[in-house]
């Protein structure tokens, strides 16, 4: 079965400011702060007024897809964003809280908005999934991958999604099948497809390897 060399695997590029946009919405997780600060610098030197129309939503590292909700105020990254003269910065305890705010922000946003996303691919995927619902196209979104390569894996058999997968095969959290993690990516599900690996020869599993670090 084809595991790599699949076209749907997303390709990312270093973030760059798009000065054609009128409003700039930035979303970051963990080490994703650095690329965002780089873009902010770029904007400041191009046209400092841009930062008045710039908003940052951020989850510090460790903020995961767990149940943590609400905002945090003490993350050191926030001070770095504020020091860079971005007026509107919010940090969240976890990705779900950030995504909730992101969704409500898009509902109020106008044409002319650009998205900048930086963080692990699983975070980018969840952001992109919501952006897609609001009909944002490729020319309105920029994403830079940084941080863990751990994947969200969708079980094509029982439709459950297993989070933070670092291995070539993984046992589905819902149906316990051993899944082969392919590069086949769904933007709609924000997950890689996992296919039962021992369907032909039950119990015969390839060696477990950590590959998505």
């Amino acid at each position: 079965m084809l595991v790599t060399g699949i076209k749907s695997k997303p390709v990312y590029a270093p973030l760059q400011a798009d000065m054609r946009g009128r409003y700039h919405l930035m979303l970051g997780m963990g080490v994703g702060a650095a690329p965002l600060l780089r873009v902010i610098d770029e904007m400041q030197s191009a046209a400092a007024g841009t930062l008045k129309n710039t908003r940052v939503l951020y989850v510090p590292d460790g903020g995961d897809t767990g149940a943590a909700t609400g905002q945090v105020s003490a993350a050191p990254e926030i001070e770095r964003f504020t020091a860079a003269a971005v007026a509107d910065v919010q940090a969240f305890r976890g990705t779900p809280a950030l995504l909730e705010e992101f969704r409500s922000t898009l509902g109020k946003s106008l044409m002319g908005t650009r998205l900048y996303v930086a963080g692990p691919e699983s975070f980018i995927g969840l952001v992109m999934k919501i952006a897609l619902e609001f009909n944002l196209n490729k020319d309105e979104i920029r994403a830079e991958e940084c941080g863990t390569l751990a994947r969200r894996v969708y079980c094509i058999h029982c439709r459950a999604t297993t989070e933070t997968v670092r291995t070539n095969i993984v046992q589905c959290i819902a149906c316990d099948r051993w899944l082969l993690v392919r590069d086949h990516y769904s933007r709609r599900l924000a997950a890689y497809m996992g296919v039962m690996v021992d369907a032909e020869a039950p119990g015969e599993l390839p060696p477990l390897k950590e590959v998505f670090l």
Binding site: R22, L106, M111, T113, E140
Partner: protein, 320 residues
């Protein structure tokens, strides 16, 4: 598309809807349904004129759900190269015409969250069919329609009746202008803008949208401009091994077709890229009038869109 794939139709109705616009209804010769189409589609009407064959694109303005007739609106052009005068003066109820199958280069974005339609004059025609699809749907839309004066407002009653408050009218005679900047700066995320009308209006909408931060993927436009006139020149078709004269008021594509060589085409307006042709030799310069090739490709000069583009040269050799 070429003439082998045309449909024979009969004119079954003609109405003068404004001092300059006639509304034609076409039915299949022999009856029956015509091919299905989606809102924004156009057909090419092939007209056997006295001196030459005209092939003009016209948007289908009837409902995509009603296929017993096609409806088109034809504006009489002051400086007609013959096509619009042929339709206005030579075509009567009962006349037979050949048309090319519908093609849609101006379709609605299926996952847009809102549609903003902007029409100038005869540019209303593609929207009439699109509105049939939008009407009664869940996606919000509004139509901004600008005309010279009330007597030039084609299909106004039909629009008023169907669209009510979604229709916004602007009359030049009253000094009313579409507030492009205000409109484009205040649209919710996920809106698509569509514009059809005079070149000046289209260019203004595109540049205003861009300056408001709109990405190109949300900006849609269509214009059927007549091929620009220019100096006469000669072209040699390398594969057909014939030389063709291109008169000053005939397009390169029309001249090649008149010589019996078929070139694939869809829009005949420099937009779709179907007639893209390789340039093998050139001793002058190409006059690119299309919106298909990138500026870099135009500068390179290795290809041309013969539907609207010409050459200033002594010798042009094409891969045809």
């Amino acid at each position: 598309m070429n003439d082998a794939q045309t449909l024979a139709v009969e004119v079954v109705g003609i109405e003068q809807v404004t001092p300059l616009i006639k509304h034609f209804k076409l039915a299949a010769v022999g009856g029956g349904n015509l091919p299905a189409f989606s809102g924004g589609s156009h057909i090419i009407v092939v007209m056997q004129g006295a001196e030459r064959v005209h092939r003009n694109p016209y948007s289908l303005l009837g409902s995509p759900q009603q296929l017993d007739t096609y409806e088109i609106g034809v504006r009489r052009m002051e400086e007609s190269r013959g096509g619009s005068h042929f339709m206005h003066d030579g075509v009567v109820v009962g006349s037979r015409l050949d048309i090319a199958h519908p093609v849609n280069l101006f379709g609605l974005d299926k996952i847009a969250r809102k549609h903003l339609l902007i029409a100038g004059g005869i540019g209303i025609t593609p929207f009439l069919a699109q509105l049939e699809d939008l009407h009664g749907g869940a996606v919000p839309y509004e139509l901004h329609y600008s005309v010279r004066s009330a007597e030039h407002a084609a299909f106004l009653e039909r629009l008023r009746r169907r669209e009510g408050e979604r229709l916004h009218m602007y009359y030049d005679s009253e000094g009313q202008l579409i507030p492009f900047e205000g409109l484009l700066a205040s649209q919710p995320l996920g809106t698509h803008v569509y514009v059809c009308g005079p070149a000046g209006m289209i260019n203004h909408v595109i540049s205003t949208a861009r300056s408001c931060g709109w990405p190109d993927s949300h900006i849609h436009w269509e214009q059927f401009s007549a091929p620009p006139v220019g100096d006469a020149f000669e072209v040699f078709l390398a594969r057909s091994k014939i030389s063709v004269h291109v008169p000053h008021d005939q397009s390169l594509l029309e001249s090649i077709e008149a010589a019996g060589v078929e070139v694939p085409y869809l829009c005949r307006g420099g937009v779709c890229g179907f007639c893209h042709t390789r340039v093998l030799e050139l001793d002058g310069e190409l006059v690119h009038n299309d919106h298909f090739l990138s500026d870099a490709d135009k500068a390179k000069g290795s290809s041309i869109m013969p539907c609207v583009s010409r050459a200033r040269c002594k010798r042009l050799v094409l891969d045809l």
